[in-house]
């Protein structure tokens, strides 16, 4: 019995589901692209194939994380530029351009969101000032997160 178990382990590493990327999302990415590639007919994805995609993506993350870009610059926190450098190191440099675009988009949206929430808070404060201050102690400030770094 134990020999059989050994045989199973050799070909497939078993990773708990919690450590994998969600299958539904990966499946959506794959199926959307497939429907683009094959407009006339639907391409199916076997369950084990989907597993292959999930697993590959997970290893990709490991592989990308493993690059020592941070150590070289003696920084503790992996930032955006580190990620770009790492991508170049593992020879996925062609990802960098679209990722930069995404990043700018994200930063823009973020900035917008922040300014909007700031406005909302100011409106709130103005409203509250008319009433006798009952609850204060910076109740509106706690939502302000420091977005620049995070562990």
């Amino acid at each position: 019995m134990s020999e059989k178990e050994k045989d199973v382990v050799v070909t497939e590493k078993v990773v708990s589901e919690a450590d994998e990327l969600p299958k539904t999302i990966v499946r959506r990415v794959v199926k959307d692209k497939l429907s683009q590639l094959s407009k006339d007919s639907e391409v199916n994805v076997l369950r084990e194939s989907l597993q292959g995609f999930c697993e590959s993506a997970r290893i990709f993350i490991h592989f990308l994380s493993a690059t020592d870009v941070c150590k070289e610059s003696k920084r503790q926190i992996i930032n955006a530029e580190d990620v770009f450098k790492a991508l170049e190191e593992i020879e996925f440099a062609e990802f960098v351009a679209p990722l930069r675009t995404s990043l700018e988009e994200f930063r823009r949206k973020n900035a917008k969101r922040k300014s909007e929430s700031l406005k909302a808070k100011e409106m709130n404060k103005k409203g509250k000032m008319k009433e006798p201050p009952v609850t204060n102690g910076g109740g509106s400030e706690e939502e302000d997160e420091d977005e620049s770094s995070e562990e």
Binding site: V26, V29, K33, H62, N79, L99, S102, E147
Partner: protein, 220 residues
């Protein structure tokens, strides 16, 4: 597009061991590729919507942190990782699909993924995922003819029947414009999308790659 088959026929030297069935396949593949390169370009040029396909950041962080050397991660890093992951999955999907197409299948099997991994140099880190026996690839048999892919620069990945792991670079930028596409190659437009600014030449700057495909080269 009508130019291409003719030009292909004209530029396909006989010096190469006669590959008639593959020639046919190549034309087919090329047409398919041109079609979806166009789609790819459109996709990239669209504004990237973060809501689409957003892989869960917490999960990604967790996976990243499985590596002990990874300490602190900025808020933006997981987002980039998520997007990079998505792009990676797309790459893998395209290549796997190509293999399925070659074998006239409408179902992606594990051996398609295996073939995609084998054929692409930069996917070497994935080589352990799929057992070797999954790789049923005619190209492997032909591998001996081509020899070492080490010098591959402009050799496009979609000629696997002739020269399997010759893709030093992913399809998106590995195409030598001079080689097969005479019309403004989607790959060139592609390159300008992927690589904003100067081509850093890390993709074996254009022609002249005298790899096993030397005889096809020189279309300049």
């Amino acid at each position: 597009m009508e130019n291409n088959p003719q030009q292909l026929a004209a530029t396909q030297p006989v010096a190469y061991p006669p590959q008639t069935p593959y020639h046919h396949l190549l034309q087919q593949q090329q047409q398919q590729l041109q079609t979806f390169w166009n789609y790819q370009r459109q996709e990239i040029e669209q504004v990237n919507d973060f809501k689409n396909h957003q892989l869960p950041l917490a999960r990604i962080k967790k996976i990243m942190k499985a590596d002990e050397d990874v300490r602190m991660i900025s808020a933006e890093a997981p987002i980039l990782f998520a997007k990079a992951c998505e792009l990676f999955i797309l790459e893998l999907t395209i290549r796997s699909w190509l293999h399925a197409e070659e074998n006239k299948r409408r179902t992606l099997q594990k051996n398609d993924i295996a073939a995609a991994i084998t054929r692409t140099d930069i996917f070497d880190f994935l080589v352990d995922i799929v057992p070797r026996d999954e790789i049923k690839d005619d190209a492997v048999a032909l591998g001996g003819i081509i020899g070492s892919p080490a010098a591959a620069s402009g050799v496009p990945y979609y000629y696997p029947p002739m020269g399997q792991p010759m893709m030093g670079r992913p399809a998106v930028s590995g195409v030598d414009p001079g080689v097969y596409m005479q019309a403004p190659p989607p790959s060139q437009a592609w390159q300008s999308v992927w690589q904003t600014g100067a081509d850093d030449g890390s993709y074996g700057s254009g022609g002249g790659a005298s790899s096993g495909h030397g005889n096809i080269d020189g279309q300049g």
